[in-house]
């Protein structure tokens, strides 16, 4: 008996610990608090499904527990056969039809919410509309704003602006995901997908690559910086270093998968640096294949400034 109590106590303790943590910061009971209209509608659908499946869960598990306790053998002989019931058509029809109805409710609700999730709000909406091209690379995000300005891993947009994204990939499949903005859209080579968001609050929202894309998939992060006004000119060189170079050369340029870049002679020669990022070399991918001159110059300037000071590193 004591042992049985222990078995009951263990999961109970686990559940309590879990509930405590969860209550502390809505620890994953529902998706990350949305800050974009499409995210809100997805979360609405999530709650409806949680309510329905939660009810079914409680009914099934409590019935199971009840039957198992109520109809356990206790002192009876093992081979004692209770009444041999083979089925009941009416009740089987009921538990086929009721789930169909519940699922139809879910389908109906999803289609009701769908237009507000997939369609961008009218351009006349407050804040106007901006289109940004998103290109995924191993292992960073390259953003091209209207007018050709680029940024890496940091997408800066004003609050309330409707931002439409044309998402594609230059190499393998990735997936664009800002948990706070709602769903994912895959970045697939040879295909351009579309999604949008309209950030309601100023802040930094993490971007996570959600499709496994290779050795540094786990480090393919970025964030959307939602500002109050127009985007400030970005420090593209710094972004490129921390978003592109540092994944393989280390955050202090000390070398990691690739060699150290601090004090590398390449830094002194803009042309060879340009060739290197444009074409790659050995294990290094052609990270800058599609960068424009403005971007490459900014990178070269930043790297030289930070790492190219002394001829011999320490």
């Amino acid at each position: 008996m004591r042992r049985r109590l222990l078995f009951l106590a263990l999961p109970l303790a686990g559940a309590l610990a879990l509930a405590g943590v969860a209550a502390a910061e809505n620890g994953g009971i529902s998706p990350v608090a949305p800050v974009s209209p499409n995210g809100h509608r997805i979360t609405d659908a999530y709650w409806l499904i949680l309510a329905i499946t939660g009810a079914v869960f409680l009914i099934v598990e409590s019935t199971l527990l009840l039957f198992v306790i109520r109809y356990r053998r206790r002192g009876r002989r093992r081979d004692l056969e209770p009444e041999q019931v083979h089925g009941n058509t009416r009740i089987e029809v009921v538990w086929t039809v009721v789930p169909v109805v519940l699922l139809a409710v879910i389908v109906g609700f999803v289609f009701y919410k769908l237009p507000g999730i997939k369609n961008t709000p009218p351009a006349s909406a407050a804040g106007g509309e901006t289109n940004v091209k998103v290109e995924a690379y191993q292992f960073y995000w390259l953003f091209t704003y209207p007018g050709g300005r680029q940024s890496i891993n940091v997408l800066t947009v004003p609050k309330d602006r409707v931002v439409t994204l044309d998402v594609t990939s230059a190499d393998v499949a990735h997936s664009w995901w800002v948990p706070a903005f709602g769903g994912k859209i895959d970045a697939i080579p040879g295909k351009t997908n579309h999604t949008w968001f309209q950030a309601e609050k100023v802040g930094n929202y993490p971007i996570r690559c959600a499709e496994f894309c290779g050795i540094q998939h786990a480090a393919m992060h970025g964030f959307v910086r939602v500002t109050n006004g127009t985007p400030s000119p970005s420090a593209i060189g710094k972004q490129a270093f921390s978003g592109v170079c540092a994944s393989c050369h280390g955050f202090r340029g000390e070398g990691l998968i690739g060699p150290a870049i601090a004090s590398s002679p390449t830094l002194q020669d803009r042309k060879s640096l340009r060739d290197l990022v444009k074409n790659g070399s050995g294990k290094m991918p052609a990270v800058g294949l599609t960068w424009n001159d403005q971007t490459i110059n900014a990178v070269a300037r930043y790297l030289k400034q930070r790492f190219g000071g002394e001829a011999s590193g320490s």
Binding site: F7, P11, G14, L18, V21, G27, G28, I29, V32, R41, I42, A45, Y46, I49, L50, T53, F57, V60, E61, L64, F67, V68, Y71, R72, R73, R76, D79, L80, P82, V85, H86, G87, I91, E92, W95, T96, V100, L103, I106, V107, F111, D171, V172, A173, S175, G182, G183, K184, I188, P189, G190, H194, R208, A210, E211, F212, G214, I215, H217, A218
Partner: protein
């Protein structure tokens, strides 16, 4: 009178204690080979999982390298799907189908042996690929193109992955054809389709589904191999190929594969619950036909793995509705199992604990599937730990619980000795608690934003707590499995003898000796219901012979 000196009879080499396993075409021996080999691979795949959980226990861990981690989850997934769940079910099918339908063997015994050996060498190829140049494949068990193309995955890891899967596909396909031929042609007198044991129904659907979907996988693998080595560009968009094509081909196989893994486990549960509740299955026809229904719908749902790919909305709507439709026959099964226990006389032997555990845990996996079928919600939760949690509830809490129930249930039939009950109960409770502690927090991690297939994470707080819990749970689970192996070894030495029918069961395999004679039966009675052994038992009791 000269008496002839007795000549010592030496059996031929192929009847030796070891050699007879190499040349056997007996379905029971092949079944046991399948099961024991799969259990070894299960230990291998489990160790890979433990290493991953070790790496993820705390943030910014450096216990395993990036490449190493990516190899681990690729091999863990491939091993558990192709080398554990599918073949161990083939093992149960091999051992049980002829016995359950009153036949002497499968339709093509030599083909059956061939299937096993292809499976073994396919499995060894996969494990050996760790030693290939460039290491094992590191593209996930789905090996999405173009990541799996030579340009992004140099070395021979992916090539060996393809070779291994080709071998395993041949094994499964030959095995499936064998099951279909056996079930259609070799049922004993009186065993109509509506008297077929429910486990055999699930094996029938399992086999038909394999025949439908494995060729698609083989074609896809061949195309990938040609892309890698013959200069074709099936999946290379820079030369007119399509990266999405691979996903369609893979999931056309991959989703039915999930049901291929779960249906026979459901069949096992449908055999166990009536025996330990002392009642017939509630709604035999509904349970049998829901198997067919699940099999049919499961081939129409593959694109729900691809909702984030950017398919047209009407297509996503279609795949949402078909995916939700699968929930209906699945629900029918769960309700029928519950109704079977109603007013029963329930004994809690280990097989029954696992069967009831299956119902309890699989229900969670089934319900979380509804979130993934509703495509806008899927956009939010797909490719996160929510999916990892969902599929482990289905495949571990579901398929593996069913398999462990089956192992405890049929062990006495296979080896003549009953597994120890106390150790069996320890196995169950450790696995049950471990499963929930490991996988439940992963739902929450996914909703918090943790993508799957990441070798590390930097967030502390809730992320760290949930990840650490998950790691602790996986060790509890592993302990339960360790207890099972201790039980196996103890039982081989000193287990209680079983007799033909230790559980007072229903189906024909319990008529045979434990373990069954090479010819299975001396005679099989005419079958008049879905519970022939119970019929016989009652008849003998009536006559006072029992």
């Amino acid at each position: 009178m000269a008496v002839d000196q007795p000549v010592a009879l030496r059996p031929p080499w192929y009847e030796g204690r070891f050699a007879r396993w190499l040349v056997t075409t007996d379905h029971k021996q092949i079944g046991i080979l399948y099961i024991s080999t799969s259990l070894l691979f299960f230990v291998g795949g489990g160790i890979l999982a433990m290493l991953m959980r070790g790496q993820l226990a705390t943030p910014n861990e450096h216990f395993i390298t990036r490449d190493g981690y990516n190899e681990l989850f690729t091999l863990h997934g491939t091993v558990m799907v192709f080398l554990v769940v599918v073949p161990i079910l083939a093992g149960f099918g091999n051992f049980l189908v002829p016995l359950m339908i009153g036949a002497r063997d499968v339709a093509f015994p030599r083909l059956n042996a061939m299937s096993y050996w292809f499976f073994l060498f396919g499995g060894l190829t996969l494990f050996m690929s760790f030693f290939a140049s460039g290491g094992a494949a590191k593209c996930g068990w789905t090996c999405y193109a173009p990541l799996s193309e030579t340009r992004y995955s140099p070395g021979h890891g992916v090539d060996l992955w393809i070779l291994s899967l080709h071998l395993l596909t041949i094994a499964s396909l030959a095995g499936a054809i064998n099951f279909i031929a056996t079930i259609h042609n070799m049922r004993t007198a009186g065993m109509t389709w509506m008297r077929l044991p429910l486990f055999v129904w699930t094996i029938e659907v399992y086999a038909v589904m394999l025949v439908f979907v494995l060729p698609a996988l083989s074609a896809g693998l061949t195309m990938l191999l040609l892309d890698r080595h013959a200069g074709t560009h099936f999946f290379d968009p820079n030369h007119g190929g399509s990266a999405v094509l691979w996903q369609h081909v893979f999931w056309f196989f991959g989703h039915p594969e999930v049901y291929i893994m779960i249906l026979p486990s459901m069949g096992i549960v449908s055999e166990i619950i009536p025996v330990f509740a002392r009642k017939p299955i509630f709604g035999y026809k509904a349970v049998a036909l829901s198997t067919v229904g699940i099999g049919f719908f499961s081939m129409l749902v593959w694109a729900h793995h691809m909702f984030a790919v950017g398919l047209p909305y009407w297509m996503q709507g279609f795949f949402m509705i078909t995916s939700l439709a699968v929930a209906v026959p699945t629900g029918v099964k769960i309700f029928n199992w519950l109704a079977t226990t109603y007013k029963g006389n329930i004994s809690f032997d280990t097989p029954m604990l696992f069967a009831l555990g299956f119902v309890a845990v699989f229900t969670i996996g089934g319900l979380t599937g509804i979130f993934l079928a509703a495509f806008p919600v899927d956009w939010q939760v797909t490719d996160t730990y929510f999916v990892v949690a969902h599929m482990h509830y289905v495949l571990f809490g579901g398929a593996i619980f069913g398999i462990f129930g089956g192992l405890h249930y049929w062990w006495p039939k296979m080896f003549g000795r009953l597994l120890n009950e106390t150790l069996g109960k320890w196995t169950f409770w450790l696995m049950f608690i471990g499963t929930n502690v490991t996988f439940f927090p992963q739902h929450l991690l996914g909703l918090l934003g943790m993508p799957r297939r990441v070798y590390t994470y930097s967030q502390g707080g809730t992320w760290e707590v949930y990840n650490f819990m998950s790691t602790v749970g996986s060790f509890v689970m592993a302990l339960g499995i360790l207890v099972f192996f201790v039980n196996v070894i103890r039982t081989q030495r000193s287990g209680r003898r079983a007799g033909n029918d230790p559980w007072l069961a229903n189906t024909l395999e319990w008529l045979a000796a434990s373990p069954p004679a090479p010819q299975n039966f001396d005679s099989v009675p005419y079958v008049t219901s879905a519970r022939p052994v119970r019929d016989l038992r009652l008849k003998l009791q009536e006559r006072g012979e029992l």
